[in-house]
Symmetry: C2
Amino acid sequence: MTKIAFRTRIEDLRRRELIEAAHRVFMQHGLGGMTTKRICEEAGMSAGILSYYFKGKEDVLFAMVRLNNRVLMETVASGLAQATTRWGRLEAIIAGNFPEGLFEPNIANAWLSVCAASATNTRYARLQRIFYARLQSNLASVFRDVLPDARFAQVALALGTMIDGLWLRRATGEVLLPQNTTALVLSVATALLTEAERAQLQAA
Amino acid sequence: MTKIAFRTRIEDLRRRELIEAAHRVFMQHGLGGMTTKRICEEAGMSAGILSYYFKGKEDVLFAMVRLNNRVLMETVASGLAQATTRWGRLEAIIAGNFPEGLFEPNIANAWLSVCAASATNTRYARLQRIFYARLQSNLASVFRDVLPDARFAQVALALGTMIDGLWLRRATGEVLLPQNTTALVLSVATALLTEAERAQLQAA
DNA sequence: TAGTTTTTTGTATGTGCGTTCAGTTTTTTC
DNA sequence: GAAAAAACTGAACGCACATACAAAAAACTA
């Protein structure tokens, strides 16, 4: 039991180290430049170690993406928990999608590469679907009973695509700050709603 | 002279054939699955031909991207020429960014891959900059003398990122029609402007 | 400490790729 | 129609890569 506990501990540690090394390599060299050799080197280990803790290169990549997505989702979730009004929840959702310190060109580019790769990789595609479904359901929790279905679809699409678009722009190195992007998306949300609808969101 | 003229003609033809073959391979197999062998096969030629007409694989890719960008820019330009009011020009710019028959998942994915690759490829990055600069200047021609600089920056960013975001969503296979996306972006433009500003755009 | 298991190493292997180039076919020239 | 130039072929080369694996090192056990 001590044995198993220890083995598990070191296994998780190594896996995490490799994932983080993969992340750094990804950021520096892009999806194409991410080789097993570089990952192991970055992690300070030898070339063969990757096969020992992972099924293969693809497996590390997938674990990396999943970890990143989890972090982003948790950021949103913790913000949501603190909000008291519907409008506050909307602010939390949007701000949570531009986390301080993570809204950076290399991270944005990593995410973009995954989006592009989703076309030919079903595991990535599945991850993306989960991610978007979560965003959609979060937004639905804000607008439920305030907007009719058609309006909601329009507003949700507008806000969602703006968030995506801003990440895409950030990936190209455009200088954008989290507070500015959040404000921009919120200003669009404000503009798309009637005064009555806004009042309803700020009340509940 | 006849000689040179003929040689040029066939050279251009082969180059174009290879570029188009590259395009089809790109769409089907993604950036990573685009090999010289596949491209030549798709073009119905032998493996070595690529080096004869291009400097290398990278060269074909670049030519392909440049061609695609040119098509998109020309679509916008022709629409702009027909518009009579500022608002009409805005409609032309937005609609021109969702060309009928080109706003498809595989094409969107190709564009996305290029965006992602821009991070490590300076030639792509340059192309992207030209593309965005063109969009920006087109939008500026619509809003000049109507919006103050700060407002213009906000509106242009909002519309630009929405266009990008919608292409990104299309890349993931989301069902979006050109007329609907155009309408959505226009509705955001409408919402972001005051009535007075809108009137000004529709008049001139 | 001797034995046993876990962890790590570094080389070896096979594969797929881009590119080259000597040779072949086709086209053009005179 | 012979000579020359252009267009094209496809096998061959070298390289980078992912993965496998036997051997070594380290950690643990009793």
